[in-house]
Structure formats: C-alpha cells, structure tokens
C-alpha cells in the first residue's frame, strides 16, 4: 500500500503539473479539493479519471463518482487496490 501511495502521488504531481511538490508534501489523508489541501478543480478531476484508466484500467462512470474516490490519496489507493484491472 505504501508503494502504491507513493506511486499515486508521483503520477498526480506529474499529471496535474503540481510544480515544486514532492510526494512528502502531500498528506495521505488531506482533502484534494477545496481551499484546504491541494485545492484541485474540475479539470483536475477529469485528468485524475484519465490517470486511473490509463494506469490501472479503472473506468469511472462520471466526474461525480470520481469526487467520491478522489477524497484523499489514501482513499484513491484503497479504491485502486480493490478495483484495478492492470
């Protein structure tokens, strides 16, 4: 799980152009959206959907479903573990 969390953080930083951030800057349980945490927006949600599909073969039906999964890196990691097809 720890490896997956680190891998996720690195790919999130790359996919969302989070310049200057390292995996250590992202708290496993911090919210990804809103004013606290990473402050991601609706376009970022769409990029994260692609990231899950590309890297783990997971297709989420809608951005709304994505919002539930993208609560924190820890939640994403658990979801990937349970649902990955590659």
């Amino acid at each position: 799980m720890e490896d997956l969390i680190k891998e996720l953080k690195l790919s999130i930083i790359e996919a969302l152009n989070l310049e200057g951030m390292t995996p250590d800057d992202i708290d496993d349980n911090a919210p990804l959206f809103g004013d606290e945490g990473l402050g991601l927006d609706s376009i970022d949600v769409l990029e994260l959907l692609i990231l899950l599909e590309k890297n783990y073969g997971i297709r989420l039906a809608s951005p709304k479903e994505g919002q539930k999964v993208f609560q924190s890196v820890a939640v994403i990691a658990q979801y990937v573990t349970d649902n990955r097809t590659k």
Partner: protein, 364 residues
C-alpha cells in the same frame, strides 16, 4: 448625428437550411439535424451533433470551412447590395477553431482564412479575427458596431462559422460536456450540449431601416477558465450595460446561450433574474442547430430578428420541464409576442460573457 448601426444584409447556412429564411423555418417548425454519429471524423466514441452532410468546397483552393464563410458572406453582401471591394468596407471573421481539422497537414491559421475571404471579395483592408470562445460571434458584432461608429467604414461584414472535427469533438468529450442525446436547454434532465456546424453573416451599415445593433457589452466572470460563475456575474454585468439603452417594456424576448449544460443554463437564469428580466420570455436554439461555436452569436441573432419581425417566440426544442433554480419564462412551444426589441446572450470558456441589444427599425 450619431450613426445608427443597422443590420442590412444576412447570410446563413446550417444543416437544416442554406438561407436565413430556411434556417428560421426549421427553428419555427422544430426541425433539427442533430443525430448520432458513430464513427464520423474517426472519433473513437460516438457523439450527437448537427453536421452538414454535403461537405463540398467551392471552386479554387478553398477548404470546406473557407467555402462556408465565403458562401455566408456572399449571401449577406448580395442581400445588402454593397460593393465588398470598396476600401470603406471591412471584414471580421468569428471562429474558434477554423480549419483545425487539418492540423499538422496544412495551413490552419485563422487570420489566413479571414484574409482569403476578404481577398475573394477583392477587399483591400486587413481582416480582423475575433476568437473569444463561445461568444465569438457576439463579440465580432460588438467589434463591427464599434468600427462603424468610428466613421472609418461604411459597411462591416461580420462572418462567423464553425466546422466540427475530431479535434473539437474529442476535446468536448474529454470535458464530459457533451450529451449522448439531443440536448435539452433549461430542462430538468439536461445533461450536456451537442456540437453543431454553421456559417452566418451580417452586413452592418448606417441606416434608419432594418434592425439596429443598439448596444453590446462583453464582461468577464473572473472566476474560472472553464466553469461559469455561480452568481452569473459576467453575464449580469453585460446585461446591465446593454439595459441602459433598453426599454424593458418593449423587449419581445431574450435569446440566451442555453447550451443545455447544467452550469451554463443555471448561470444564465440567475443572471437574467438578477437583471430583473425573469418575466421576459426566453427561447434557446441549441436544440435545433446545436452549439455552433463561432457562428452561434451571428446565426442566433439572425434567427431572433426574423422571429421578432414575425412577432413570434420560437420553441425551445428539447425543453419540457424547467430545471433551473429561478423561474425564468422558457418557451417550450411557438407563440406570439409583442415588442420591438430583444436581447441576445452568450457565455463561454475563459469566463467571458456577452450581451447584445437589438431594436427594430423602420420598414424598407
């Protein structure tokens, strides 16, 4: 005396009609070419859109897009009866992606398309491209009006067009902005827009006759590049500016953007309500033509002018049950109206919003 900037010539080509009158009749009868496309443009995923079946280019070295803008301009120039080769005439092109279908293969520059169009008509002036996302057509009319008011030109030919391609379709799919069914503007079950193809043109002149382009404004939400303001800030501010010149009791209707995305229609309803116009009838045309991007502001203004001439509020194709938080008067069916002015609204990516006020003139 201040000039009266009037619309003195029209052109329009859409998949449901190749003259302004044909396009209007389609809208009045609720006809549409919006249909499912399974492998058009080589798109991996099916999409619903309003596309031309006949994609023939005019003679000479012109693409389909270039042909459309020239044909729309020619209609408008003919109906206005002006000499486009005069140095007192200027051309404006409104488009978002122009010849983008040929990216990597040939010249896709937007100003080059505009220049080819001006050259086709032997016009000596540099053409201007207005590319202001989905409000481009409206912004081009604002720009044309301003150029008329300087007195440097006798006529300004404002042309807008969009052709669709894998580039645009895949992009809107990536944003999850497209509906998989015919779109439903302002409806409770709306779930996205349909893209459309069209070309439309208006010749602006200084005339006591014909529709006056009485005022126009462009305002930004300063909120987000791809999401409209929740408070309708920019649209409201643009509306407020054009309303200074309007007699609210004389407004026949408002023709909003009405893309049928959840956020756009809600935002527009809020802006209209904030401006005190919730009682004015509104109808949206996207269910008939789709979202024709660079053409929308010009095409939808022309259809609205003909509708108002016919004392008619057009049906909002696809609309059944109001699905916005304020009770705006969306017209589901065709009905009659009074008044001799109307407002056209558009909003787009980049947080940009626009409003135009049109006023009826004397009879020819």
């Amino acid at each position: 005396m201040k000039k009266r900037v009037a619309c003195i010539g029209y052109g329009a080509l859409t998949p449901v009609g190749i003259t302004p009158a044909d396009c209007y009749n389609a809208a009045a009868q609720g006809r549409s070419a919006i249909t499912l496309h399974k492998s058009t443009f080589g798109c991996a995923n099916a999409f619903v859109a309003s596309l031309f079946e006949d994609r023939i280019a005019i003679a000479g070295n012109y693409t389909f897009f270039d042909s459309l803008i020239i044909r729309a301009a020619a209609q408008a120039i003919d109906s206005a009866g002006i000499d486009p080769a005069s140095d007192r005439v200027a051309f404006i092109l409104s488009t978002i992606k122009g010849n983008i279908e040929f990216i990597g293969k040939q010249d896709i520059s937007l100003p080059d398309s505009a220049a080819r169009m001006a050259r086709y008509f032997n016009n000596p002036n540099p053409a201007t491209v207005v590319s202001n996302a989905c409000i481009s057509g409206l912004a081009a009319l604002v720009q044309g009006r301003r150029m008329m008011l300087t007195g440097r030109y006798d006529y300004v030919v404002v042309v807008g067009a969009e052709v669709q391609s894998q580039f645009i379709v895949s992009g809107f799919q990536s944003l999850k902005a497209l509906s998989e069914k015919p779109c439903k503007p302002f409806d409770a079950s709306r779930d996205g827009l349909n893209l459309g193809e069209a070309a439309a043109a208006i010749v602006l002149g200084d005339s006591a006759i014909g529709w006056e382009l009485a005022e126009g404004a462009i305002r930004n939400d300063a909120n987000h590049i791809s999401g409209p303001s929740r408070t309708g800030e920019g649209s409201y501010n643009a509306l407020r500016y054009v309303l200074r010149e309007a007699d609210i009791n004389d407004l026949s209707f408002i023709n909003p953007h009405g893309t049928a995305t959840m956020y756009n229609d809600e935002m527009e309803a809020i802006a209209i309500d904030r401006a005190g116009l919730a009682n004015i009838p509104i109808f949206a045309l996207k269910g008939c033509f789709g979202h024709t991007m660079g053409a929308a502001g010009i095409l939808e203004s022309i259809i609205s002018m003909i509708a108002c001439d016919n004392k008619t509020i057009l049906p909002t194709k696809g609309f059944e049950m109001l699905g916005v938080s304020v009770p705006v008067q969306v017209s589901a069916a065709k009905r009659s109206c009074s008044g001799s002015s109307f407002i056209k609204l558009l909003s787009g990516f980049g947080g940009v919003n626009g409003a135009l006020l049109f006023k009826k003139g004397g009879q020819a």
